[in-house]
């Protein structure tokens, strides 16, 4: 992917805003921000952002490409949509955050160790496999994503909860084998593949 990255740098030179507008989901809204900061103030995880949305927008305009794309900030988004409903300029901030995160991932320059980034990827892989999420495997994969030792620790830490869920019938070991899936797996996967091709094509054209 990183040659895609260099390609993009080549193509857009210092004009990061144009790059974002062309390649990031809802990116062409960035220029509409008037820096009121209501989004930054409305985020439930505000304190955890190195750069809140409105500042990210300003950084994009100022051409701070690496700082933005490598930032962990967008990964803080919990999709609570507070920012969207309060934004006086109608910016779909939540989606722009997701878009930036995805674009960074696509370019392969996202913050590697960022746990939510890892979970988000796991989640996608998990659902892409069978068309439906397998919560048990999702959990298991999650706990072991940082290797066995770490995983056992986390798993044990979560064991209580797991047991509780099991007892309540809200977690099923049946899921370990087989588990829920869409019937038309073939069609489903073909659809996803096609969609991915089309999306890649869009970005590649941009290249």
């Amino acid at each position: 992917m990183s040659d895609l990255n260099t390609g993009m740098v080549e193509k857009y030179r210092n004009n990061f805003l144009k790059e974002v507008e062309a390649n990031v989901e809802e990116g062409d809204w960035v220029k509409m921000c008037m820096q009121c900061g209501v989004c930054s103030g409305s985020c439930p995880l505000g304190t955890d952002w190195d750069h809140p949305p409105q500042e990210l927008f300003m950084m994009i305009r100022a051409g701070k490409r690496e700082e933005v794309l490598q930032s962990t900030s967008m990964w803080m988004c919990t999709s609570c949509y507070n920012c969207i409903v309060r934004c006086p300029r109608e910016l779909p901030i939540t989606h722009i955050m997701h878009g930036l995160a995805h674009y960074a991932t696509r370019l392969g320059i996202e913050p590697k160790g960022q746990p939510t980034r890892q979970f988000a990827q796991l989640f996608w892989d998990n659902l892409a496999k069978n068309g439906r999420v397998n919560e048990l495997w999702l959990g298991v994969n999650l706990y072991f994503m940082n290797g066995l030792v770490e995983g056992v620790k986390v798993a044990l830490g979560m064991a209580g909860i797991g047991l509780g869920m099991l007892k309540a019938g809200r977690l099923s070991l049946k899921e370990l084998v087989g588990g829920h899936t869409v019937k038309d797996k073939k069609g489903f996967k073909a659809m996803i593949k096609k969609a991915q091709e089309l999306e890649a094509a869009r970005v590649d054209n941009a290249q």
């Binding site: 900061g37 930054s40 507070n82 309060r86 006086p88």
Partner: protein, 428 residues
């Protein structure tokens, strides 16, 4: 009321606020016949509810006195209060307006002696004070009310109190059987000066105006300063009557926001700068004012005033649209959450009182407007040939401060005169 003479050389002025008054006076003082239609019981409009004007910090009452004197002295002006235009037909030089006149229950015999008010017990919300207090069922809208004639609140009709009021009047001025009237008036030109209303603060949910006692609007704040207002001029907050020394002003409360009013209401920045001086006026150096803003729009020479306020170290400016307000349940203080965007500083600031610099909503309703007219998305009447002989004045034409509203009204008077002069020529 049938004795009103109106021809197609008459200029109809809809709205008796500062803009309507100005348009009427300018036209009448060059000899034109003018009829002013005012919805409330007295003329003067919003400015009668203001404590001071920016940037001079002088008193609106002063100009009101002069304008009212001019009106009283001018035989070319007829004022209909408690009246509304319900329909308007025709074209430049030949309009017919249908006007609904609500009963005041007090006729021109009234000497404003006040005997009726002394006689009654019943009280009703005082609209002049944005319903922050109550007035008697028989009342004079305010000290400067013109016409200086009492009003019987319709809510009192049929009650013993109403009868008491009638009995107390020696001059047979109270007529409890007065009925709503509908009259038709001819006019050659119409000046539309229905002004503005404060945006409904309840709609700005993140600021909890409907949930937090100590969040009020800028127009309410003005009333607090009036010695005859709801707090007799004391700057105290609603929840517990505590002196409001630490006051926050939130700019663009309802303005510049696609959720509410898309436009910039122009006056709010200057209004808050002005109101910051109220706090100093009351508490001197104990005043602690914070102004949360996106851009301070102290346009043209108003900026000199902005610079003065900036020099006051009791006033702090924070570039931030406040995200939301919650109440500190212990002391009733509003707590403002947000981010100061000049360098990303997160805050949770507690204040005694929060004033929402409330936006200006035009009182022109595109859909119910009685005649074909060009109104923009913001609800202001655009100046357009297609409007024929109907001309917007003041805040019907844009979000304007008083000075610009009067300027606009003066211009609209000339537009109206152009039409009626043409009619006069035609009729020879």
């Amino acid at each position: 009321m049938s004795d009103i003479v109106a021809t197609n050389q008459t200029i109809l002025v809809v709205g008796g606020g500062i803009s309507g008054m100005t348009a009427a006076l300018e036209a009448a003082e060059v000899g034109k016949q003018v009829i002013v239609i005012e919805k409330t019981p007295s003329v003067g409009g919003r400015v009668t509810k203001l404590y001071k004007y920016f940037p001079k910090l002088c008193f609106p009452t002063c100009g009101l006195e002069i304008n009212q004197r001019r009106m009283a002295a001018n035989k070319n002006i007829t004022v209909l209060t408690m009246a509304e235009v319900t329909d308007l037909q025709g074209e430049a030089g030949d309009y017919t307006a249908t006007v609904k006149v609500s009963p005041r229950y007090v006729n021109s015999n009234c000497t404003a002696c006040g005997a009726c008010a002394d006689a009654v017990e019943a009280e009703f919300d005082d609209e002049h004070n944005y319903n922050m207090n109550k007035h008697k069922g028989a009342y004079l809208p305010h000290n400067m009310a013109m016409p200086k004639r009492y009003v019987i609140d319709p809510g009192m009709i049929g009650s013993d109190d109403a009868q008491k009021a009638k009995d107390a009047c020696k001059y047979d001025a109270i007529d409890l059987d007065m009925q709503e009237e509908t009259i038709e008036l001819k006019a050659g030109a119409v000046v539309w000066a229905t002004g503005w209303r404060p945006y409904d603060a309840n709609k700005i949910q993140p600021y909890g105006y409907d949930r937090i006692a100590n969040v009020i609007t800028s127009v309410e704040f003005e009333r607090l300063m009036d010695p005859f207002g709801p707090t007799e001029g004391k700057l105290v907050r609603p929840s517990d009557g505590k002196e409001a020394k630490n006051v926050a002003f939130i700019q663009c409360a309802g303005s510049r926001d696609r959720n509410y009013l898309k436009h910039c209401s122009r006056i709010c920045c200057m209004a808050s700068l002005k109101q910051s001086t109220y706090v100093s006026e009351k508490f001197g150096d104990d005043a602690d004012v914070s102004i949360y803003y996106i851009d301070i729009r102290a346009i043209d020479r108003f900026d000199n005033f902005y610079q003065k306020v900036q020099d006051d170290e009791n006033v702090t400016f924070i570039k931030s649209k406040v995200a939301n307000i919650v109440e500190n349940k212990e002391n009733g203080n509003p707590v403002l959450n947000g981010v100061d965007t000049e360098g990303y500083n997160r805050y949770a600031n507690e204040h005694d009182l929060v004033v929402l610099a409330i936006g200006m909503e035009p009182s022109v309703d595109k859909d119910t407007f009685p005649i074909e007219i060009k109104v923009n998305d913001e609800g202001f009447i655009e100046h357009d040939e297609a409007n024929g002989g109907v001309f917007a004045a003041g805040c019907s034409s844009d979000a304007l401060d008083v000075n610009r509203a009067v300027q606009s009204a003066t211009a609209s008077a000339l537009r109206a005169i152009q039409v009626v002069n043409k009619v006069a020529q035609a009729e020879g």
